[in-house]
Amino acid sequence: MDIKSLQDRFQEKVDAEIKIEPRDWMPDDYRKTLIRQISQHAHSEIVGMLPEGNWITRAPSLRRKLGLLAKVQDEAGHGLYLYSACETLGVERDDLFQQLNSGKAKYSSIFNYPTVTWADIGTVGWLVDGAAIMNQVPLCRCSYGPYARAMVRVCKEESFHQRQGFEILLTLSKGTEDQKAMLQDAVNRWWWPALMMFGPNDADSPHTARSMNWKIKRFTNDELRQKFVDVCVAQAEILNVTLPDPDLKFNEETGHYDFGAIDWDEFWAVVKGNGPCNKQRLVARNKAHDEGAWVREAAIAFAEKKKQREMAVAS
């Protein structure tokens, strides 16, 4: 079959909502796009463990410590499901790690911001996980089977993360003046970076159309961002916090909230490595990987010895 008919048949399947599976024929660019997107997604989960992980040892109560540890552990799990999905496309996790550790691969820029108070942990849960869920739910219907299945699992588990974050904030909102101030300060710092998580405006997002055609993407960046803003406003009221945007107001005509302009210079600065924590994040990932090398090597050596011994006994 020639390439044109393969491509047509592929697109017909995608259009008919038939999932593409690992061994099916797929256009090279589809494969590359998926590898890039899924691995970036996996990296984000893994790097995302760092800003939250650094509060586990300082969590203010046993209940919070358990909840936060379970959450950060889940993120390791999500990274793992996603690397697994990526491996079905013929790349090895180790190679993806190399790309991350060398600074070549991208991950969600939000994790280059520091978590400086306990309220940040709640806010990350509420806004960052909230934005992530908004992004991820449509991915459960992605045309690539293994990615879609991994996302179903991720979304199922992720729902407790956002609730946990919101509960942390709700407790602060009913607490002392110090706690309320801590809450407002955290929301002030995380609101705009959370909006940036949906990526550039549609006009500046060249691959969106193709990804939507391939059903890797179901909504545009701006559509998802608008949805997110709309749901957050009511939630912010319950928390008794102000969202730091003087232009935020309901538009009777559109039925949505209008919001102010995003500082894309900041977004691109962070993407390009100049966020407050880009360097620390990479150092931490490299350290874990490098210091784990002898452990991984020893485990392989031991497994090999064990196999040899079992064979010797059998013969």
């Binding site: 599976e21 061994r23 099916d24 024929w25 552990q73 889940d74 799990g77 793992l80 499901y81 697994s84 999905a85 491996e87 090895e92 996790r93 180790d94 299945r149 991994a150 699992r153 588990e157 090398a293 991984r296 090597e297 485990a299 392989i300 031991f302 497994a303 064990k306 196999k307």
Partner: protein, 94 residues
């Protein structure tokens, strides 16, 4: 030097009476470790009562290019399905 742990496919029986179902993959140095890793990775929320792990390289899969010749011929064998056979009205328990 590469010392990557091999890839394993994981199958979980979610409760007694059901088949093991493929849930994903993971890396482990040996089979025992793969079982333990699968327990920690894929059954954190009581999703399983039994685990199988299989080295990914040991799986033989059918070729998707042969999908038509493998699976289409079954489609017109309607006589394998109970609805193919006509029965008079009023017959029950059949």
């Amino acid at each position: 030097m590469k010392n990557n742990w091999p890839l394993w496919e994981v199958f979980i029986r979610s409760r007694q009476g059901l088949n093991h179902k493929h849930v994903g993959s993971l890396h482990a140095a040996d089979a025992d470790m793969a079982i333990e890793n699968a327990r920690d990775v894929y059954t954190r929320r009581s999703e399983g009562v039994s685990i199988w792990v299989v080295p990914s390289e040991q799986i033989t899969a059918s070729n998707p290019d042969q999908k038509d010749e493998l699976f289409d011929p079954a489609e017109d064998k309607v006589y394998r399905h109970p609805t193919f056979y006509d029965l008079p009205d009023g017959i029950t328990h059949m």
